[in-house]
């Protein structure tokens, strides 16, 4: 039965996951056209004679365009920067929480996990929306600051708002894997360390932290990779100065109707992310078989 079971998901993914990437790459090589769909040349599968002409019409013009216009380069760099900083922030906030959860008495752990998962299960969009009401110039935050006599902060539509939004939205993704690996850790290891002469601090870094590294790594991958291409947060909370490549892609696609350039943006983004994605997949598989 094992042989048959693999086919449905395999074929599904080949057609609906892999094949689309090939198409993106193909469109990235095409030219913009005022047509539906807005690109040329279109492959006519039925007419092999046209294939040659179609292939010859492909070029790397769009990629050249990306290289020429500084906007794209800045957007890629800015996305990487924002993703990196957000990941670090999420780690700084998430690790102590996960650690505290793992140290909590057994009967509380389920409840704490539920409390972390609850925001995760409620809508991403709504949670970002909540920050609009808080961070906007006439928002909740400024109202509270006003009570204490602090002048209003203009956070909305800045990078700071984007950081807040991203960390807020992705925090559960960082907490859960770290909690999972801390929870799995045998408490007697720490006792053994202290018995052998370690201080509390040293036992923490050498043993607890080290053993939670797989969880930390998983959490970082789960935050960093998707955030590079994040669209919703920069669109709702960021300003025109906040350049993120996800937003650029959507604008090229929907506003400019320039599908070839949008595709080229996607291809380059994919190339940038391929190494982290492969590393993530390897680490995930390894953890899967290790816990077997």
């Amino acid at each position: 039965m094992k042989r048959i079971v693999v086919w449905p998901p395999y074929i599904w993914l080949l057609v609906l996951f892999l094949l689309p990437f090939a198409l993106v790459f193909k469109i990235a090589l095409s030219d913009y056209a005022i047509a539906i769909p807005p690109y040329t040349p279109t492959f006519d599968i039925a007419d092999p004679a046209s294939w040659g002409a179609t292939l010859r019409a492909f070029d790397f013009e769009n990629f050249q365009w990306l290289l020429d216009d500084k906007l794209y380069y800045t957007a890629y760099m800015s996305s990487l920067r924002i993703a990196f900083i957000s990941t670090v922030l999420a780690l700084l906030i998430g690790y102590p929480m996960a650690y505290a959860m793992a140290r909590a008495p057994q009967q509380w752990r389920g409840l704490l996990m539920m409390l972390v998962i609850l925001p995760f299960w409620s809508s991403f969009l709504i949670r970002i929306y909540a920050w609009i009401g808080i961070l906007s110039n006439e928002g909740f935050l400024n109202m509270v600051l006003g009570w204490v006599g602090i002048p209003p902060l203009s956070i909305m539509y800045t990078d700071t708002a984007v950081y807040i939004g991203i960390v807020y939205a992705y925090l559960p993704f960082m907490i859960l894997p770290i909690f999972a690996s801390l929870d799995r850790m045998d408490a007697s290891l720490l006792e053994a360390a202290e018995d052998l002469g370690c201080t509390r601090m040293s036992a923490f870094w050498r043993i607890t932290f080290r053993l939670s590294l797989p969880g930390i790594l998983a959490g970082c991958f789960l935050v960093f990779i998707p955030v590079v291409g994040e669209y919703i947060v920069p669109d709702l909370l960021g300003g025109s100065n906040t350049l993120m490549i996800g937003k650029v892609l959507v604008e090229e696609f929907f506003n400019n109707r320039d599908w070839p350039v949008a595709s080229a943006v996607a291809v380059v983004l994919l190339f940038i992310l391929v190494i982290p994605i492969v590393l993530f997949q390897r680490a995930a598989e390894r953890r899967q078989s290790a816990s077997a």
């Binding site: 609906l16 140290r103 929306y129 928002g139 669209y231 919703i232 599908w259």
Partner: protein
Amino acid sequence: MKLSRFNIVSLTLGFAFLYLPILILIVFSFNESRLVTVWGGFSTKWYGELFQDARFLDAAWVTFYVAFISSTVATVLGTMAAYTLVRGARFRGRTLFSGMIYAPLVMPEVITGLSLLLLFISLGLDRGGFTIILAHATFSMCYVSVVVSSRLVSFDRSLEEAALDLGATGWQAFRLVTLPIIAPAVAAGWLLAFTLSLDDLVIASFVSGPGATTLPMRIFSEVRLGVSPKINALSAILIGLVTLGVIVASLTTKRAATR
């Protein structure tokens, strides 16, 4: 094991950070006034307006049936994928398969959305509810696979062998022994897929068509214009439903465990 002060503080601050925005959202859904800074008194009028807004109701319906169908498809496919990855040792193309299962977990949605739209166009498919279902099933399947895999990995193989030894075929062993035992994980996978579908904005925006606007899409177009108390009301309802669901789920699992 009592918690140290540092731990209690981190937890409190952390959860405050996570929950305050949500609480503020819910509180202001009852605000008579439209503005966040002015409390105009307690009112449920926004809820009333919400339920009379046909666009929201339509979007809710679309969102719901898309989520239901796509998560069911995703659960079946994801369970098959999990079974293959955990049980099938080495087969040709395994690395590719594994890559295709894990990559969507981290793939930026803009890439997935764009690529799927291009696929649907080249296949000549009419975009609408059907294409959203296809798209959601595709990425949800990977999440289901991860959830079911981790259950299968700790599943005692000798139970399946015992079933075979007693005369069951492979399929019978799966249906009568494995499936009932991993059922909670499969259900959790379905729930996860359902939530992901319910919540998806980016991919749905790319692959949907006229007449198939999902709730997130509707919400997004509203909030780009700024704060809207109707959205607050909708948020409060959604959060309430999710909370109810999570509480019910954890109570039932707790009861099942102690039985």
